[in-house]
């Protein structure tokens, strides 16, 4: 389980693979104020990144990977 869908946010942890993109999209679309926790995320698949860029959920905790954090902060 690399994404845990919690009440307030989705926690993306470890390596998030391509298969999670669809579920994440659906979950984000259903939320009133979608938010993601990326603090424990080591790597995102490109498709998941694209979902985050497209749907712009609030990032409660930025990822440790600075490059990823900078890309997300430029957008979200």
């Amino acid at each position: 389980m690399t994404i845990r869908y919690l009440k307030k946010h989705a926690a993306l942890e470890g390596i998030v693979g391509v298969d999670d993109a669809e579920a994440l999209t659906q979950w984000l679309l259903q939320q009133g104020e979608p938010a993601v926790h990326l603090g424990k995320c080591d790597h995102l698949h490109g498709a998941v990144l694209q979902v985050l860029l497209a749907l712009r959920p609030k990032v409660t905790v930025p990822p440790a990977d600075l490059l990823l954090a900078s890309v997300l902060s430029a957008h979200v």
């Binding site: 391509v18 993109a21 669809e22 994440l24 999209t25 679309l29 790597h43 995102l44 698949h45 490109g46 498709a47 990144l49 694209q50 979902v51 860029l53 497209a54 749907l55 712009r56 990977d65 490059l67 990823l68 900078s70 890309v71 430029a74 957008h75």
Partner: protein, 773 residues
Amino acid sequence: MNQTDLLEQFVIEARECLEAIGTRLLDVERDPTNLELLNDLFRSVHTLKGNCGLFEFKPLERVVHAGEDLLDRVRNRTLDYSSALADALLDAMDYSAQLIDQIERSGHIEAGAEGRSIEHATALRSLLGGATMPAVERGALAVAESGMTHAPAPPPDWLGHVDQAVLAAHPGSLALRYLPEEGCFFKGEDPWRLASTAPGVQALHVGGRQPWPDANARTGWDCYQCNLDVVIVSSASRSELELHFRCVPEQVTFHVLAAVPVALKPLGPGETVMRLRAATLWAEQCALLARSGLNGGTVLAARRTLSRLTVSMDDAAQVAALAELDTVPESAAALLAWARQHRPAGSTPARGSAAVPATRSADDGSVTEPPVRADDGMAAQSHKVLKVSQEKIDRLMDLIGEMVVAKNSLPYLAQRAEEVFHQRELAREIKAQYAVINRIAEDMQHAVMQVRMLPVGAVFQRFGRLVRDISRKLGKDVQLVLEGEDTEADKNVIEPLADPLIHVLRNSLDHGIELPEVRRAAGKPAMGTIRIRAAQESDRVIIEIVDDGAGVDPARVRAKAVERGLIPADRAALLSDNEAVQLIFLPGFSTAEAISDLSGRGVGMDVVRTAIERINGGVELGSVLGKGTTLRLSLPLSMAVTHVMVIESAGRRLGVPMDLIVETVRVHTDDVHHFKQARTTVLRGRIVPLRALNELLALDAEPQCNEQGELAVLVVRIGNQNVGLLVDHFHGASDIILKPLEGVLAGLVGFAGTALMGDGGVLMVLNPKELLT
């Protein structure tokens, strides 16, 4: 010339260029060492690029520019011409043609073009990057290479995604844009991983190629359709980056950042004013110092002003100048010299435009202007050629046609003068004048015909490409030989030829030419030949399409025709082989077992024949089984003036096209044989069926005989048969300008058109073929 005219001109010229490029590409493929051909090709591409530059057609220019760079390399022998290269270039040219169509339709390029244009340009440039050259030439060219790699690329628009400050912080770095293809997620690719693990990443920007969906469009949004657009600034070398992105070279575009950032920060309004003011002050000090008889105090004041101005400039060059100022002697002349030399460079508003290209070219170190610009020389000659739109020529043609008609009324006038007014003298003078006007009108007609003449090569041009593409698709080896491309004929005759000829070529390629193995087994060279030969024979243009393929099998054609119910079996058996082969012209005929995308739908040769006959041409087919097929098209040189025979039937005057008429005879009623409703007669030992024209036209009158009891019979040739038409009177031949039936008359069957006669009457011209079949 306003913008629309300019655009029209551009479209016309661009089309010409593309056509020339298409032909030349194929020529070069055949003979890649011919430098002249290459130069010619390059020139065409270069002209096209130049034309694009006049307008804001970025996507088009980008593709053409990439093509130009590629060809420049080929021309300089640093890149080998290959069929992969030709394919890429041909694809790019096809795409350019589409863009030009768009431009013609709407005056601009539609929004979606950007992405594809980049794809094409990248495809072309990737060939450029993977340039390999023969080892022998490498040494000799190393020097030349360093001077000219490729034309300096202006900062691409995608660089705008990245913060300018980041770009400025990494001078000399490589910027690259990585556009993963849409379906990349399905291929197991992870573009983000690829991008984030690239060597030497200094800055990275990820955006959407298309804007991200807004709140309404989100529900249907496909998250597996990759829309990422990654721009990376990297300190790694190009080869390292190329290695990293080796699996997706076509999705990556490189750009070298200028050592001094190309995009200068625009000067703020305040700063601009300040610099202008400084320049004015500087100029005032110079003017002051130039005056004669200055006292020491003034010089000192000027010196102080200049020094403060220099300090305020806050510029590296000016700081150095300030140090120099200390060493300048006290005299006014020396100070003036210094002031003139160190005039603040950045203070003029021209700074932005003047400074940027200079730094840019220095950084890329490779400004390549094509060394040969022969088109400049050709431009001087081009004023001798007028480009006139076809409508204008057609209008001229119509006017001359009317003039011919008007002129033809003079003989009637002469006749009236003589018969009604008994003015024989006047009638003679009118006739003399008529002869003069007649001569001039004929010359005029001839001259306009010449203008409308077009070499048949104009149509043949595109066949090279067609044959190449289809033969590849079919796995056949075929060469196309064109002969007599200079043969000229009227534009209206040449242009409708394109489609039928394409059809014929496809047939030859699909059914005619065999596969290489089959050909070898039959003792023929593996490469098939299709020859298109054009020649003029008196007033006809003959076009022959000859292939050395399998030929048409008469037995198979007979069987198929019977099977499809096109002719009865007993009649098929009676046909000679040559006659049987002609059956392929029957509507609905097809021998292909399976319907391919090339042929086999049964809309084959009958379409060709109809199209050719529409322009008063004829088709003949000759075929030797196993040896090949020859299709012979015979076309009129011009179809503007038609010779008709004027006849009368039931009190109506009608025209019959002269080329269909075999003879006019008078047959005694006793010689007409009646068999049930059919009437026949025997002419020169052959039975000729007779049909009454009145009956065909549903006129309720019997054909009239003359005093000797003879019927007027107009024998016309329909296909291979002679048919006699019973009419009332013959009136002789006439040259007319045939106008097709238009508007409400368009659907009228049995008539070819109308013509205005000299006496103002309208002549209906029959189409006996439609009337009788």
